[in-house]
Amino acid sequence: MNLSSLTMLLAESAAVMLAAPLVVGTVHLVKARFQNRRGASIVQPYWALASLLRKEMTVPEHSSWVFRFVPYVVLATTIVLAVVVPSAGIGAWPAAASNIFLVAALATLGSVFLALGGMDTGSTFGNMGANREMTLVALAEPALLIVLATLAFFAGSANLDGIVAFFAAAPWRASMLMALPTLLALLLVVLAENARYPVDNPATHLELTMVHEAMVLEYSGPYLAALEYASALRLTAFGSLFMNIVFPFGIATVGTGVEMLAVGVLSLVLKLGFFALLIGSLESLLVKMRFYRMQEYFTLAFLIAFAGAVLAFAHTF
C-alpha cells in the first residue's frame, strides 16, 4: 500500500502538533541539566497547557476586540506554518502551499498580530515588547528572504518540499559544505524569529530582557495557552525545517510505502530532539545581547546570508 497525500498530511500535521510541547519540554530539561538541576519532566508543558485551559480568563479593561482576536490569528497562522513546513515527509501539499515567501509572510503575520496584542493592553510592558518585536521583524526580514531564496536557488524550486527533496537527494557532505554560510544564517534567523537567545530571553522575569514574554503578560487562561502553544509550535516548525535541511535523512515521500511514514515520524522525533538539544545548549552557553546592539546581530546575519548567496552563485560556474 502506498502513501497517499491525505494520510501523509494528517500524519505529519498530527506529529508536529503533538510534538510541539515536547520540544519546549526538552529545551527546558537540557537547560536544567546544564545548571546541574534535575529539571521538570519533558511532558511538563502538556500539563501546563492543560491547566491553563481549565482556568478563567481575565482581560484588561482598556483593551478592545483586537486583544481578544489576537490569540486566534496567532495560533491559526502558526498552525498553517507548521503544517506546510516539511516535517515527517514531503509531497503532501500542492507546491504553492510551502512557497518560501509565503512561509516567511505567515511567520511575520503571526508576529505582527502578537505585537498588536501587546499594544492593545495599554500597559507599558506590552507596548515595549511590541515595539521591540516589530523592530526585530523589520531587521530580520532581509536576511530571512535572502536565506530562503538562496536555498531555493540551490534546489531549483521555490517551495520548501522541493528544497528538502533536493538536499535529501544530494550527497550530504558536499551539499553541506556548499550551503554552510546559508545554513548558519538560517540558524541566526531561526533564533531571532523564535525569540531565543541571544535575541530574546524566553525564561525572563525582567522587563529589560523581554520581547515575546512582555507581549503576552496580559493574557491568561486559554488565551495564554493558545499563545504559548503557538510559540512552541513555531519553534517546532522552524526546527523541523532547519533539521530537515541539515540532516535530510529518513524523510517520507508521498507515493512510497506506508512503512516510510513510520520511519519519517521516528526520524522527525529524533531530529526535533537534537534541535531541542542544540537550542538548550546554545541558551546555556551564550549570553543575551543588549537590544540596542541588535543591528549588529542582524547585520551579521545579513552578511553571512549574502556571502552564502554569492558563494552559491560562484559554485555553479
Partner: protein, 647 residues
Amino acid sequence: MIASLVTISFAFLAAGALLAFVPSRTDATHRVTYGAFAFAGVAALFAAAWSLAAPQTLGALPMTPAFFFGIIGAGTLLASIYAVGYLPLYRDTYALPWLAAAFAVFIIGMEAVVLAPSVLLFLVSWEVMSVAAYFLVIADSSESSLHAGLVYLIMTQIGFAAIASGLLLLADGAPFATWPMVAQTASHLSPPELAIAFVLLLIGFGSKAGLVPFHQWLPHAHPQAPSHASALLSGVMLKVALFGFLVSLSFFPSIPLPLAALVIALGLLSAFFGALHAAVEDDLKRLLAWSSIENMGLIFSALGVVLAVAAMPSSPLSAAVAAGAAVFVVLHTLNHFLFKSGLFFAAGTIAAKTHTRDLDALGGLAARWPFFSGVVLALSLSAAALPPLGTFFGEWVYLQSLALGFAAPMPLAVVALVMLGTIGLVGGLSIFAFSKLFSTAFLGRARSARAENPGTLSPSLIIPPLVGAVALMGSSLLAFPLLSSIGAASARSIFSDTTIAPGAAMNAWLVSGLLVAALGIVFLGRRALVSARGVRVTGTWDCGAPLSPRMEQTATGFAAPIRFFFRAIVLARKEFIVEPVVASNPWIAERQLLWSVASFWERFFYQPISALVLRAARTMRSLQSGVVQLYLLFMLVALILVLVIAL
C-alpha cells in the same frame, strides 16, 4: 458608446463644479455636486471596464489608458462619496464651492492626461492637473499649507519643464505631433539624444511620482490637502505620473542597460527612504505620504527590471523574471491605489473627529469604532503586504521573480540578490510603519481628550475605506490569478496554481483557504476545549502604581529603536538638556528632551545646491555696481558675443 461614457464623465465633472456655486442653506448643493462627481467616476469606471473587457468595441480605449482611466474613475467615485460626509465637517475651514471646482478641474486634468492623443494636449492637461492640485494643497490657506504648496509648485514646474523638453526632443520640436508620430520621429534620433530625453522624462515623471531625490515636496504637500483630495493625490495622481512614464517609454526604440539600471537604482532608493521615513514618522497623513514614495519606488524598480531584461539578450529565465516584474507593476498600481486611498480616507476621518493628525495624541479608537478599526486593520495589513490581502500577492510575484534571478549569470545574480535584500528591508520597515500606525492610533488607551470621545461615524465616512478593503480581498482572489495567467500557454482556472517559472508556484485561493480553515479550526477548538469559566474584565497589570495613558508607548517611542539603528540616515538627533534650578543642588533641575529627524537629501543634496546658487548670486552681485557706463559696457559685450555666436 464608450466615447459617450467618457463625455458624460467630463460633462458631469464640469456641471458639478458649476453647481457647487449655487447657494443653499442646507447641504443640498454639496450633496448634488459630489453626487455628480461620483456619477462622473462611475461613467469613467464603466468606460474603462468596457474597454478592457471588450477591446474590439468601437471607440474602446487601448489597454494601458483604459486601466489608468478606470483607476481615476474608481478614485473619483470613492473620494466623492467620502466628501459627502467629510467636507461638511470642515465648512469653516474650506471655501467649499472653490474646493469642489479645483477638485473637478484636477480630475478633468487627470482624465485628459490619460486620454491625450498628442504632445500638446498631454502637456496642457498635465499642467491643468498640476495647477489644480496646487489649489487642493493650499485649500485651508494655513501657513504650512502655503509653504508646502509653494515647494510643490516649484518642483512640479521643474518637472513640467523636464517633461516638456523631453517630449519635444522626442517629437523633434513638433508640439502637435500625435503619439504615433512621436514614436516615428524618435526612431530617427541618435542614442545620446534618446538618452537625454530619457533622463529628462525620468526626472519629470519621477518628480511627480515622488522618486528620490525629487521627493522632497511630497510628504509635505499630500497631507496638507483635504483628505478626499489627499487620497486622489497619493492614490491616483502618482499613478498618472506612472502612466506618463509608461507612455513615453513606448516611444523609445530601445533603452540601453545603464538607463534601466538608473530606473532600478532610483526606485530602490525611493523605496528605502520612503519606508524608513514612514517608520519614524509621527504624523498620520505624512506617514501615508512617505509610504506612497516607498510604493512608487517599488513600482519603478520593477519597471526598471522589465526595461533591463528587454535590453539584454532574451532567455526563458529573463522572460519569466520580466513577466513577474510586469505583473507586479500592474497589480501594485491597482493595490496601492486601493489601500492608499482607503487609508487616506480613514486618516481624514480620524483627523476630523479627533482634531489631530499626531499619532502621539491618538490611541484607543478600536474600542470606540470597532467596525471602522477592522477596516483600517485590513488596509494596514494590506499596506504592510501581509497575506491574505491583495498587496501581498503582488509583492510575492516580484520577490519570486527576483529569486529566480539568482540563476542568472554572475553579475546579474548579485544585482538580483541586492534587490531582494533591499526589498526585504523595505518590506520589513513598512510592516513596522503600518503596525505602528494601526496600534498607536487604534489600540490601548486614548492619549488625548479628543481621542477619548471621538463621536460617531456616518456611513459616507465608512463606506469608501470599506470598499477599498473588500476590493483588496477581491484583488488577491481574482486580480492576481487573472493577471498572472496572462500570457500563459493554456487558459487556466483562477483556482489553480500560478507558475511563473518551473518550481515557483503561487496560489491565492490556497493561501486564503488555509488561513480561513485554520482560523475556523481554532474557533471550533476553543468551543470544544474551554470550559465555561468565562471572561472577567479587570484593570491592567500596573505593578501597584496606577497606569495613565501618558505612560503608554507613543508613535515616537515606538519608532525609537529604528531611529537609533538608522540614525546616520534619518539624521536623528537627541539631546537631553539639564538646567539646574538651584545652583547648590544638581538634582533640582529643569530637564528637557529635544529630538529630531531630518531629511538626508535635503541636507546633502538640496542644501549644498542652494548654497552654491546663493554663493554664485553673491559673486554676481559685485557686477551690480550701479554705474550706468558699466551696464552699457555689459550690453555691448553681450551684443558682440551674440553676434559672434550667431555668425
